[in-house]
């Protein structure tokens, strides 16, 4: 099998360095997608170039350094915590005999659907100094106030609880697609179960976990909702303040460009973490799903761990929202049942998710198959939109379309384009992970058998990556469902989504009116989440 390489390369040219040349159509589409994603950068450069001495002095000072350190510190802490929570959950959901694991598999993923501002708000309401927990404890224990969870602990907790599903979904998909023969070989060779997990499973998980971790890290960098609720100023917070309080677009643009530099640093760090090893198998493999591992006496600790995560990240916000809803209804506040907004959410998110998936494919193939300077540069560019706060991307699209593409301005296609710019990596990363695990010899074999490039893509690559593609589609869809700033600024006038409805009521201080759209958002998002989770274990079968 290994000796066939030169012959099967066929017409593919080999450069002097031994690296294969990138096919022109792939290169052109990938560059085109990256240009689209980078368009906000062009706007930021225009705005930043208007800088006067004043705006520079506003930025070049200790506080900016301090904000950078805080932002990176929070991103690192949240990333480590999400990985620590998500890998055990993924393993339990996919590989163990955890009681009721099909239900758990969905429950673990669901916290993804809470917008971070809603999640943070719920945590504050429940665990704040005089929140719901305190009221429960006051009677029996006489506790008059709980410690303040604002600041770093609150931001860390909220972001960890509502972003770990990114790592969970990616890691679970990877765990499911492993060839069990590798682990079985390790066990046969006398390694203990834990040693096998440490020395075989974890290294195999590395690229997926690095990809999931990157999504979490950059989500933390661009998040505004949780950090503003929890009052932990970060870089994004500073950018928002410039726009919202000072109406000064120049410092905001300079800060945003600096944020992009930070994000590129994070992407480079991930490149190191994911390593350069090959992750595909060269033989035919076992071609069957792994057998679930019996938890034995670990069963109940595992259930306890799973329950406590689900309690904090899912049950607690649902209880808070239900409480607000019930209280509002009791006080005669009219319910805020918005079927039209629900339809708007699904339409915009589906259009955004499908477009993002299609546009992510060339970037994923290029960066997985043709590693090199160009590929990593393009991949870095593809991430810039994801690292930028939604408001910045939205205002850049306002400027670019209102000025140059007026018919597109304030239309649904523009909202979909904004989602592509904001969420491309959420589709590109799972796809890239899938392509990395795909043996290139399969494609080469198809080419030898007379398929052209497109037909190989269609008949060999796409079917093999359909699982991760579903995950990618689901991730983008779920994230788009909760997106607010870009939707609010770019939507057609009068077009509503559940996120905009939540904002309308919450920004007016009417939490009970915000509760029903938030619960609807959760309920609607649960359906694709359930399908995503089902796919994870569908072929696992009964033990």
């Amino acid at each position: 099998m290994t000796s066939a390489a030169p012959a099967t390369l066929g017409r593919t040219a080999v450069t002097r360095s031994g690296r294969r040349r990138i096919p022109a159509p792939l290169l052109v589409t990938a560059v085109g997608v990256c240009a689209l994603v980078a368009s906000p950068l062009a706007y930021l450069v225009i705005r930043a170039s208007e800088a006067t001495h004043d705006s520079w002095s506003l930025i070049l000072r200790d506080r900016t350094v301090w904000l950078t350190v805080r932002t990176l510190g929070l991103a690192a802490a949240v990333t480590v915590a999400t990985v620590a929570v998500a890998i055990p959950l993924a393993w339990l959901a996919v590989r163990s005999d955890l009681p009721g694991r099909r239900v758990w598999a969905t429950l673990f993923a669901l916290p993804l659907v809470f917008p971070s501002y809603v999640g943070a708000f719920a945590i504050l309401a429940a665990l704040g100094p005089r929140g719901m927990l305190q009221r429960l404890l006051e009677g029996p224990f006489g506790i008059a106030r709980l410690p303040d969870i604002g600041g770093f602990p609150g931001a860390f907790l909220a972001l960890t609880l509502f972003t770990y599903p990114y790592v969970y979904l990616v890691a679970a998909a990877a765990l499911r697609s492993f060839d069990p023969s590798l682990e079985e070989a390790s066990r046969t060779l006398g390694m203990s179960r834990s040693a096998t997990f440490r020395r075989v499973t974890l290294p195999l998980l590395r690229p997926s976990v690095a990809a999931g971790g990157l999504l979490v890290a950059l989500y933390t960098v661009h998040d505004f909702g949780a950090v503003s609720m929890m009052r932990f100023p970060t870089f994004t917070h500073a950018i928002f303040l410039q726009y919202k309080a000072a109406f000064d677009r120049t410092p905001a643009a300079i800060l945003s460009l600096m944020l992009v530099v930070v994000a590129v640093g994070v992407v480079l760090a991930e490149r190191r973490a994911s390593g350069r090893a090959r992750y595909y198998r060269s033989g035919p493999g076992a071609g069957r799903p792994p057998r679930p591992v019996a938890l034995g006496h670990w069963r109940w600790p595992a259930v306890a761990f799973s329950s406590s995560v689900v309690m904090l990240a899912l049950v607690l916000p649902v209880c808070v929202l239900s409480y607000w809803l019930a209280r509002g209804l009791a006080a005669g506040v009219p319910a805020n049942l918005t079927i039209v907004a629900a339809g708007g959410s699904v339409l915009a998110s589906a259009a955004g998710a499908v477009t993002t998936l299609v546009l992510a494919l060339p970037v994923a193939i290029l960066s997985a198959r043709y590693p090199g300077r160009l590929a990593s540069a393009l991949r870095g560019v593809a991430y810039t939109g994801y690292a930028l706060p939604g408001l910045v991307v939205a205002l850049s699209l306002v400027f670019l379309t209102a000025t140059y593409l007026h018919p597109l301005y304030q239309t649904l296609p523009l909202v979909a384009v904004a989602y592509v710019i904001l969420f491309l990596p959420q589709a590109a990363e799972p796809l890239r992970g899938a392509v990395l695990q795909l043996n290139p010899r399969l494609e080469e074999a198809a080419r030898v058998l007379g398929h052209d490039r497109l037909s190989t893509l269609r008949r060999v690559v796409l079917p093999l990556v359909s699982g991760p593609a579903a995950a990618a589609l689901g991730l983008v869809f779920l994230t788009a469902m909760k997106e607010l700033p870009a939707t609010l600024l770019l939507r057609p006038t009068g077009f509503e989504t559940l996120a905009t409805r939540i904002w309308t009521s919450a920004s007016a201080g009417l939490y009970s009116r915000a509760a029903l759209p938030a619960l609807l958002l959760l309920g609607l998002s649960a359906i694709p989440t359930w399908f995503l989770a089902r796919r994870l274990e569908a072929t696992g079968g009964p033990a």
Partner: protein
């Protein structure tokens, strides 16, 4: 290894369908027609595009009544006042907006300073006290939003509340205060303080609050609810939040404390309205401004909100001090925008944001 839905032909078809459907939906929504409708109508009034920073929860009925009474249809685009101001500035001369209806004078001042608003009729401007309109006549106030201290009636003796806001820097208020530092109303108030009492005294006040361990909240509503819950005893918010929160939560142990007339704490900001210089529907826009500053609009403020009607001859809906007594520092609201960057800088230095 079934291809299932991932078949690329299906995917392409779905994409095409969705894009087509959304394009249709968008055109149907009337987002594109704003510039052309004026010329097509045979006597029918054009649709007025209004960017509203005022919440749909409160003002939607006002727009409906306007359309009913005047026959002028409106497309209302709701958003955050400051974000809409930034949007209008990015749109520049291509803005589809005819009217900007904002929560606060600062955002109107910023759009006016960018040269994007057109002067209003003198007769309309005359309806309100000069302190609630732009000196150049570029925007006019529609309702008043006063700054107060909301306090917990079970924890605070009203007699100990200071007549001046500066009294809250006193150590006797240690551990008892809260406010929303990122809220636009609070920041506008700090900008007003900079104008009225200067940077040194404003900084001394903010430092004093900091030393008193002032607690920070996300917005006015959560500050007010924290006062009601006894998490803090006093919150610095706008006067109408007590009523809004009670409308939703039922009666709460909270009351508003109004600072002395003339005190820098008794600052009152205005929500207001301006007409875009690029608007092709100037007549319809003028009728809207006339409507909201005239009898119907002011009666709406009086009957459906807890804000101050701003035109002469209308009183607030609840038992609050009359507007004539709610008089703080002598500050031109149009100047607020220019001082906001400085206010923000100061808040950052002191550690509020």
């Amino acid at each position: 290894m079934s291809m299932g839905w991932a078949n690329p032909r299906n995917v392409a078809a779905v994409v095409a369908m969705l894009l087509f459907a959304s394009a249709c939906g968008a055109t149907g929504g009337g987002a594109e027609g704003a510039g052309t409708e004026g010329t097509t109508g045979g006597g029918d009034p054009a649709t007025l595009t209004i960017y509203s920073g005022r919440s749909e929860e409160f003002v939607a009925p006002l727009f409906e009544a306007f359309t009913q009474e005047t026959g002028i249809p409106v497309d209302v685009r709701y958003g955050d006042s400051a974000e809409l101001a930034a949007t209008i500035m990015e749109e520049g001369e291509n803005s589809p907006a005819d009217v900007f209806f904002s929560q606060d004078a600062g955002t109107l001042g910023a759009v006016a300073a960018a040269g994007l608003l057109t002067p209003l009729d003198g007769a309309i401007l005359e309806r309100v006290d000069p302190r609630f309109r732009s000196a150049e006549g570029l925007w006019v106030g529609t309702s008043g939003r006063g700054r107060v201290a909301v306090y917990n009636t079970e924890l605070v003796d009203p007699a100990e509340l200071p007549g001046s806001i500066l009294g809250f820097a006193d150590p006797s208020w240690d551990g008892r205060l809260g406010l929303p530092p990122t809220n636009a109303s609070f920041q506008a108030h700090v900008a007003a303080m900079l104008i009225a009492i200067g940077q040194d005294e404003t900084r001394r006040f903010l430092d004093g609050l900091m030393e008193n361990g002032v607690r920070f909240y996300a917005d006015n509503a959560s500050t007010t609810r924290a006062v009601a819950a006894g998490e803090i005893e006093v919150g610095l918010v706008n006067h109408y939040y007590k009523y809004e929160v009670e409308a939703e939560d039922g009666a709460l142990p909270i009351a508003n404390h109004y600072f002395e007339t003339g005190d820098v704490g008794a600052f009152i900001n205005a929500a207001g309205v301006g007409i875009l210089a690029t608007s092709p529907h100037a007549d319809e826009a003028r009728r809207f401004v006339d409507y909201v500053t005239g009898e119907p609009g002011q009666r709406f403020v009086a009957e459906h909100t807890w804000e101050y009607p701003i035109a002469a001859g209308y009183g607030p809906s609840v038992d609050i001090p009359p507007l004539s007594e709610f008089r703080g520092p002598d500050v031109d609201l149009s100047d607020l925008g220019a001082r906001l960057p400085e206010a923000l800088e100061l808040l950052a230095e002191v550690g509020f944001v």
